[in-house]
């Protein structure tokens, strides 16, 4: 279905909300404690915040792409200088759990604790209050929307089921989140991530060719741009911020920069635009 021509500001044709999840070594192995006996896996994940974020920030500066980084608060607590450099260079920070908790498996109280703990760390280390959230491990519970809204979150980038933003309504209170959905096709885990013990992919499928990965991502952008839609990415510094893959991202940014009428904006800015643009017409887009 074609979208309205005036979907984006200033006559822009399509929107790119580039985003990275700076998970580092957080996730299930940290939540169950096994990572502390697994130095290879701990160091593999740490490469993202420790080293790759620096390369990415230089690349994003060169192509002037405002970007959203979703940061588990444990990563901020552990590498505050690296995460502060993201903010110092003009990018946005979003919530991503404390240690990448799977929200759909947490009680309401535990979700509230994770949000409060994260906020305290964002305020202490960065002096800021994030407005957006990407749910770690992709799923959330029935009560998560309310937990997020009560925590002051106004937008999310957690779902997969659309190619443009939409509103997620919280019926009882009349409040809503703007959702900026991602797609697995633009998740670098689906093509490039690889690790042993714990194995990923579970069957130890091969690392994809960079050339065909670039071609897939390029086509995802081209289709979105042609249709006047919005893409965000689920890229990870530890996966696509590695030295050889920076060159892959560089090609993608070059390709997107060469197109006319692309609105590059952080997820928060896109969400604000969407809310303002649809304030008069209500929630449906």
């Amino acid at each position: 279905m074609p979208v309205r021509q005036n979907l984006w500001p200033d006559g822009m044709r399509s929107c790119v909300a580039l985003a990275f999840d700076v998970d580092g070594p957080t996730g299930n192995a940290m939540l169950d404690g096994s990572i502390w006996r697994n130095p290879s896996f701990f160091t593999l994940g740490s490469y993202g915040p420790w080293r790759a974020v620096g390369y990415l920030l230089d690349l994003l500066a060169e192509y002037r792409i405002p970007t959203t980084f979703f940061v588990p608060a444990w990563v901020l607590e552990t590498w505050p200088a690296q995460i502060k450099s993201i903010v110092d260079r003009g990018h946005e920070i979003g919530y991503h759990g404390y240690q990448h908790e799977a929200f759909w498996q947490l009680t309401r109280e535990r979700q509230q604790e994770v949000m409060a703990q994260s906020l305290a760390l964002f305020r202490r280390h960065l002096g800021l209050t994030p407005s957006g959230f990407r749910t770690p491990s992709g799923d959330w519970g029935d009560d998560t929307i309310e937990v997020l809204l009560d925590a002051g979150v106004t937008w999310s980038s957690s779902m997969r089921g659309d190619d443009r933003p939409y509103f997620i309504e919280h019926g009882p209170s009349g409040r809503s989140l703007v959702e900026i959905p991602g797609r697995w096709e633009l998740d670098d885990y689906a093509s490039l991530a690889y690790q042993r013990s714990p194995d990923f992919p579970v069957g130890l499928d091969r690392i994809a060719p960079y050339e065909t990965t670039f071609d897939n991502w390029r086509r995802e952008f081209d289709g979105s741009h042609r249709g006047g839609l919005c893409i965000t990415t689920l890229f990870h510094p530890k996966v696509s911020g590695k030295p050889g893959r920076i060159l892959l991202l560089e090609r993608l940014l070059q390709h997107m920069r060469a197109a006319d009428g692309v609105w590059f904006a952080g997820c928060g800015e896109v969400a604000q635009w969407w809310r303002n643009a649809h304030a008069a017409t209500g929630a449906s887009a």
Binding site: R37, G203, D205, I207, P209
Partner: protein
């Protein structure tokens, strides 16, 4: 904010080629159902039969000194072959005794594997190894002093950086162990290892496209070159030493040799350089973040 490391003679980057000559031992540890399966095991025996000599020939052609990791048992079982590798000027490192999975061993057992391998390798080559690789990547907290006591100067087992780093020392007076960290995308096994039954890899993915893997490696090389890093190529004689794949190594080395600012060195040389030109890790290094938590986890 990203800093480029310094390398000798103004070279832009370092490249360390390491070869895991594990014969059947790593696969038997990883996949115990492999025991007694002669056809399957012969996949891994191909290294000693053909792959080692083919790799040595290419390294000679390109005048590349490399670091081989050999379990003690492989040195005893393939004494003449390991001597030939050593006499060709390559470094022989310790890869435990029979590719034991250290995650299943106590610290004392890990130390025994290290010592037994160190004795075997010294006996076979006449030189005590200075390098160590944990075949499955991990060791127990407290193992680093055992490595140093055994004469090990450097390791290439862990990950987390694109340049060497220091393992924390037990005492300030100890010369620290240097790590030359690995990257899966620069290993041949994730792309190529294959056996039908028992299945390796477990999900039976297709063998990767040779052409595309070479293209990936060339792009990884270009990235490491751009940022001036230490590229660790990790290969196996039974995988890259086959008649059909050996040219991937040649073509990659052609790319490397088309640059005049790449320091191709053994792990030991890189570790020595790092030790004499750097004093410590930058603050917040993952290895230093992990150290107290690793120690704590072992006491639970």
């Amino acid at each position: 904010m990203t800093t480029m490391p310094r390398w000798p003679h103004g070279q832009r980057m370092a490249l360390v080629v390491s070869v895991d000559f594990f014969d059947t031992h790593a696969i038997l540890t990883q996949e115990p159902r492999m025991a007694g399966r002669e056809k399957s095991l012969s996949v891994w025996q191909y290294g000693a039969r053909r792959g080692v000599d083919r790799l040595l020939q290419v390294f000679d052609e390109y005048r590349v000194a490399t670091s081989w990791f050999v379990p003690g048992r492989v040195a005893l079982e393939h004494r003449a072959l390991v001597q030939r590798i050593h006499q060709a000027g390559h470094e022989i490192g310790n890869a435990s005794f029979a590719c034991e999975d250290f995650d299943r061993l106590s610290l004392a057992q890990q130390s025994e594997c290290l010592s037994a391998a160190q004795a075997a390798l010294t006996d076979v080559t006449g030189e005590a190894p200075a390098g160590f690789r944990a075949p499955f990547g991990n060791w127990a907290p407290g193992f680093t002093p055992h490595l140093r006591a055994a004469g090990i100067e450097w390791s290439s087992s862990w990950r987390g950086d694109d340049r060497p780093y220091f393992h924390p020392s037990a005492a300030a007076s100890d010369a620290p162990l240097i790590e030359v960290p690995l990257h899966y995308e620069l290993e041949d096994e994730p792309y190529f290892t294959f056996n039908l039954y028992p299945p390796v890899p477990v999900g039976q993915p297709r063998i990767a496209s040779y052409r595309e893997v070479l293209a990936n490696w060339r792009q990884d090389f270009a990235g490491f070159h751009r940022f001036g890093l230490c590229l660790p190529l990790r290969i196996h004689p039974e995988i890259l030493g086959s008649a059909g794949r050996i040219d991937l190594l040649r073509e990659l080395l052609n790319t490397v040799r088309s640059h005049d600012d790449v320091w191709v060195a053994t792990g030991r040389e890189v570790a020595q350089w790092w030790r004499t030109h750097y004093r410590e890790n930058e603050p917040g290094h993952p290895v230093d973040v992990l150290a107290p938590l690793h120690q704590q986890a072992s006491q639970l």
